[in-house]
């Protein structure tokens, strides 16, 4: 792929912002690691060798009968009966954290929430679940939610903004009035009402939040289109007989995308904060899901267990700080006044 001189200059500007450039790499590394959460924090071993047979419990279900047990259901590798049987006639390779996000540690010496120990690196929550595992899975779900919501809001926002800005007149007038009414709706109340009707899962929550998050980009794209539709190249394209759709999306949109791309990391940050706030209030992901907002709520309810609040705060602040630094670097890269 060959880059145009403008794209090369933007890439150079982005690289020159060392803080943003390295923040992007650190964020990508953390996100990449969290995508492999099942291999880092799991209550099943990665590899089991039993009677010279290899099993991979992370990706396959192996019944307890396989290891000399009585149950046809999946083996509980944390159970001493199963682990002793395997160790007697083979070996197991465990992930670094031997808990998944929903594994309860029944072997705690103190009441939960238990403080950090060699087994639970940053302690357990009030239900005896490992906080480190929940932070890793919670980070992944937050970033994935934020990314999907950002992409979908971006698509809807850009299309609506483009149509309003390009056609102007009544289309713009009606669109703006609709957005004014829609943005005036009390989002939190609607979420409370909706979550009392349906139990919101990941996709429900995404849909509900998308209903109100697409308006962020409309004004930016609309303003760019209002400006660009009077430019000479657009008039030339129209004079050559090009259709409205082609002029909008092939000629004006690439110029309008600069402002859109600059906003993207900040929209992502907003989406993650939104999900965390809803989880904190109890209107977010269903109970039991690994969520940073729920961890903060637990930290608030258990002030005598500071590892809960601190771990959620540190992971959230690192994630949001990295994204803001990347956002600043993107903004600098697209700034035409910067060489």
């Amino acid at each position: 792929m060959t880059l145009t001189p403008i794209q090369q200059r933007r890439l150079r500007n982005f690289r020159n912002n060392r803080r943003g450039f390295w923040s992007l790499w650190v964020f990508l590394a953390l996100f990449g690691l969290s995508l492999c959460a099942e291999l880092i924090a799991n209550d099943k071993p990665l590899v089991v060798s039993y009677q010279d047979e290899l099993y991979f419990p992370v990706v396959e279900k192996v019944s307890e009968e396989t290891f000399g047990g009585f149950l046809p259901t999946e083996a509980d590798y944390r159970d001493s009966f199963v682990s002793d049987a395997i160790e007697a006639d083979g070996w197991m390779i465990w992930p670094p954290i031997r808990f998944s996000y929903n594994t309860t540690n029944y072997d705690l010496d103190v009441p939960s929430p238990a403080p950090p120990s060699a087994v639970n690196w940053i302690g357990t929550d009030d239900q005896g679940r490992d906080v480190a595992a929940r932070v890793i899975y919670g980070f992944r779900i937050s970033v994935l939610f934020g990314l999907i919501l950002t992409i979908l809001s971006c698509i809807v926002g850009v299309v609506v903004g483009a149509i309003q800005g390009f056609y102007g007149g009544k289309v713009d007038l009606i669109g703006q009035r609709f957005i004014e009414i829609w943005s005036g709706l009390p989002v939190l109340f609607l979420l409370i009402i909706l979550s009392s009707i349906v139990q919101p899962n990941f996709w429900w929550l995404l849909g509900i939040m998308l209903l109100f998050s697409w308006m962020g980009l409309v004004d930016v794209v609309r303003a760019e289109f209002l400006r660009a539709r009077n430019f000479e190249y657009v008039k030339a394209a129209r004079a050559l007989g090009l259709g409205n759709r082609k002029i909008m999306f092939r000629h004006i949109l690439p110029n309008a995308m600069v402002a859109t791309l600059t906003f993207l990391p900040f929209i992502l940050t907003g989406a993650i904060t939104g999900l965390t706030s809803l989880d904190f209030l109890g209107f977010g992901l269903p109970s039991g899901s690994p969520s940073l907002g729920e961890l903060i709520a637990q930290g608030k309810a258990n002030l005598h267990a500071p590892w809960l609040g601190i771990s959620a705060f540190v992971s959230l602040s690192i994630m949001l700080t990295l994204l803001v630094f990347v956002g600043e670097a993107v903004r600098d890269a697209f700034d035409p006044r910067k060489n």
Binding site: F166, Y167, G169, S183, G184, A223, L226, N230
Partner: protein, 39 residues
């Protein structure tokens, strides 16, 4: 209280949107809000 806050903030939003539309024309006089439906 809640709806009062919502009302005030929505009203502020409407006024700000109106001001920003007027500012568009001041910043770039080429901007207009006329219809281009026949284009």
């Amino acid at each position: 209280m809640v709806f009062g806050t919502l009302y005030i903030f929505t009203l502020m939003g409407l006024v700000l949107k109106l001001i920003s539309d007027i500012t568009y024309v001041l910043v770039d006089p080429r901007i207009d809000f006329e219809s281009r439906e026949g284009a």
